[in-house]
Symmetry: C2
């Protein structure tokens, strides 16, 4: 019997790699999708290329898309500084300048297009409400609204397919994600999280992504091999 298919958004970071491993463990035939949208941290894209086959993806597609609108986000406009050394309280208040306008809407739309072609019903995304409460497009309300949209916007949807947006990390702490990744055999040395690495690719250690990753490893009582 052939497995049901799933499309998994894979950035190359810790969260999306763990999400992919969870989808494989659940028995899906996994098709990984990486979007190079012009982010500073596109080191992640190379890591995604290494991670997808090693985690058991059946196929991996990398799409290039220029989302570098001037003034839109610290992740795509070098003129906007990436915040550094923020406290947990600072991270928890408001939407950070690293928010990329409608990014996850674009990513899920592209995943939906491919999923419909593959006759996949499940779309996995590694969003996490605890750590990223600042991003509107990481919240359950967003995922549910996207499911509603997918039902009316696609041939499969109006023919009866109820697309499911799966976010298995939604309620986990960063420490729980690290432990889950280790349990699933994810090679964490390949994952890459920094928003603003040095030219040679060294993580800055000070952006929100680096700080949250460090907190996760600390919570899990493990050393970061990355």
């Amino acid at each position: 019997m052939s497995s049901a298919r799933a499309v998994v958004l894979l950035s190359g970071g810790l969260d999306s790699a763990t999400t992919l491993a969870l989808a494989v463990r659940e028995g899906f035939e996994v098709h990984a999708l990486t979007i190079d949208y012009g982010q500073r941290h596109r080191m992640e894209v190379d890591r995604a290329r290494a991670l997808a086959p090693s985690l058991g993806a059946r196929s991996h597609r990398v799409l290039h898309l220029d989302m570098t609108y001037p003034g839109s986000s610290a992740l795509t406009d070098p003129g906007i500084p990436v915040p550094r050394s923020r406290t947990e309280a600072e991270m928890g208040s408001g939407i950070p300048p690293t928010y990329v306008p409608a990014r996850n809407t674009v990513l899920l739309a592209l995943a939906l297009s491919w999923a419909e072609t593959l006759e996949a019903r499940d779309l996995f995304i590694g969003v996490n409400a605890v750590d990223y409460s600042g991003y509107p497009d990481c919240r359950p309300a967003f995922l549910r609204a996207f499911e509603t949209l997918a039902r009316v916007s696609t041939r499969a949807g109006i023919e009866g397919t109820a697309f499911r947006i799966r976010a298995p990390l939604m309620d986990l702490s960063k420490g729980e994600i690290v432990r889950k990744a280790v349990e699933l055999g994810v090679d964490l040395s390949v994952t890459f999280s920094c928003y603003d690495p040095a030219p040679g690719g060294t993580p800055c250690g000070e952006c929100d992504a680096c700080l949250l990753r460090a907190r996760g490893f600390a919570e899990a009582g493990l050393e970061d091999p990355g």
Copy 2:
């Protein structure tokens, strides 16, 4: 006083050119967005480059994006024939093979991303339910679901911006669209509609898009200059 901004999806066809002209006439500062997604009829993209400034767009952005998944659509996979010489009854029944999975979801997501950066609230799209009843992502239910999504998926949305998906051609016949275009001074000789032009760029005259365009000019009692 500066005008409100709008993002208008511009394919280079008759409908989107007329939509852009309507947005300009309504007083918006118009920013046109064209997506080259790998469609056979990318002749349209060149036409869009000519149309945007001539119709009064303040800026025009062309994004390249590879949506040519094998097997997905007759518009992106040369292995799937574009239907020819279909009757109105045939066009009116079911979803045609020219449907591109989740295409308008992807296009509106990209328009939303740019709109949020520009602080625009209005997104214009040239969909038309009468002619294209076969496409799920041309229906009012789709547009309303996208507005709901935009409210929860963006910073602007959760801060109170109610994005509006504007489809001013929704209830017009093709003949009414041609008349509207002429009234607005759209140079219809530049617009391009054919799904599957000959290598030199000559419209096939037999695909649904060519047939609907011909019907529109006939209804309007005008000769097609395109």
